[in-house]
């Protein structure tokens, strides 16, 4: 047991006694709206991610999925509730996590190698060492020989690989991914997903993968969390994905269990997607303020 003087901040333990990698307790996040009032992106969100778990979060577009990741990354503070990483409250940037953004975030004035080296250099690694380290990571994501290219000289898929190497090189314990492959074409995307699974299989980091694509979520994850439509998005359900690993994302879609899980989650997600769509469609007459 914990010493009694300690506030009940440290997270719950799972059956094996390990503290979860990430925990949300009744988390809300509201944003001020220009012209007064607030918009609640998330309201009463609670869930935990076990160590080494690959969790996918699906939900309608604009449903607060990115907000949720920003809270886990420590880039945003919750308006209410608590976010814990390995039992400790996230205060400021979450140094145990890496974040793969949806947008291109490589520094355009640095080459692929310099971009990947950035993390080690910021962690005060000697330049030589950082460079060797970065070369190895570029080779690992299949970009040996492209070290001296600037981001604009690389294809979208290559830039994502560089970004992946840039995030993973700092050895994060949690990898947060915000629709990282949504801008890629279907083939490149499948390749990237398989590469991600291969890299994940090697050291089983905790992954939180946000997407609006249910196919992608099921193909990659151990568990799929369904988020409701905003405003005030909350967790609607949690669906374990009992599919064998290692997986190939294109083949796993034909597995009978895949279809079953898909049906189960879609039944829950469908209503939310329609609700999100209705909220966006222009309405005649006076709507509720």
């Amino acid at each position: 047991m914990r010493p009694s003087g300690q506030a009940p901040r440290t997270g719950r333990r799972d059956l094996s006694g390990a503290v979860a990698a990430l925990e949300f307790y009744d988390v809300a996040r509201r944003f001020p709206v220009p012209g007064g009032g607030t918009y609640a992106a998330l309201e009463g969100v609670s869930f935990a991610v076990a160590r080494g778990e690959f969790l996918a979060i699906v939900g309608p577009t604009g449903g607060g999925k990115s907000t949720l990741l920003n809270l886990a990354a420590g880039l945003l503070r919750p308006s209410a509730g608590q976010v814990l990483a390995f039992g400790a409250p996230v205060d400021g940037v979450n140094r145990r996590a890496a974040y793969l953004f949806q947008q291109d975030v490589l520094l355009p004035w640095k080459t692929a190698l310099e971009n990947v080296m950035l993390g080690p250099l910021l962690h005060r690694q000697p330049r030589r060492e950082a460079q060797e380290h970065a070369m190895r990571w570029l080779a690992r994501v299949g970009l040996a020989g492209f070290e001296n290219r600037y981001p604009h000289q690389l294809s979208g898929g290559m830039r994502k690989r560089v970004a992946l190497a840039q995030s993973l090189i700092v050895g994060p314990e949690i990898l947060l991914m915000d629709e990282p492959f949504s801008a890629l074409d279907v083939q490149t995307r499948a390749l990237m997903e398989n590469d991600l699974l291969r890299l994940w299989q090697e050291d089983r980091k905790t992954v939180v993968f946000v997407t609006h694509d249910l196919d992608e979520a099921i193909a990659l994850a151990d568990r799929v969390l369904v988020l409701s439509a905003g405003p005030g998005a909350r967790v609607l359900g949690s669906h374990p994905v009992a599919l064998p690993r290692p997986r190939d994302v294109t083949e796993i879609r034909l597995h009978p269990a895949f279809v079953e899980v898909y049906r189960e989650i879609w039944a829950q997600l469908r209503g939310e997607v329609l609700r999100a769509y209705a909220a966006r469609a222009p309405t005649e007459g006076s709507a509720a303020p």
Partner: protein, 258 residues
Amino acid sequence: MTAGRFRLLPYQAGVLVALVAAWQVTAQRRWLDPFFFSMPSAIAARIVQWFGSGSIYRHLWTTALETVLAFLAGAALGVAFGFAFARSPALSGIFDPYLKIANALPRVVLAPIFTLWFGLGVLSKVAFGVTLVFFIVFFNTYQGIREVDRNLLDNTRMLGATERDLVRHVLFPSALVWILSSLHTSVGLALVGAVVGEYLGSGRGLGYVIAQAEGTFDTTGVFAGMTVLAIFTLAVDLAVTLIERRLLAWKQGAAEQT
């Protein structure tokens, strides 16, 4: 683009030759009074004489020195203030109206004051050039820092950057793109500051040469000074282009892709 430029070269040279020839002929036949208009052959002879005797070099050197110093000082101040203002909303809020007023003021009226304060030498021209360069660099730095993609900052923070690291790896390079994009304008203004300052009161420099010639109704001297100044300006502009190309190597061809 390069091919197109060279294709037009004969025509461009043709225009120059035609104009100079027309000027020469009309002046020689006294259709134009050479006292007021001089003539190309006299101007060329004057320039050759200046460079032959070497008398022009100290003027060129003075103008070049003033230009470089005005640019460096103005750019350093502009970058420093631009950074400070972009990072501190309070600072920019308080000083915004004063900057607007200072920028709206026609800077030429400051030249006599600077001559009084700093004398007839290099310093007053540098001070005058600084007032011209500062605002260009300041506004571009300010803009460059305000326009930095938030995701770039967040990503670099997630990789372990401190605020100082952000300045070095993200904010400064981002502002540099803007500063360099205005490099031609700011270096040009530094030169304008030097020449105008010299013209209004000095003992040496290209502006002084032109002012002296004008004072003695020596139109040939005025035109010769203008020609040397124009060639000098082109040389400075070319140097800027080369520096720009070097510093923005990562951007080469960025426009064609994506």
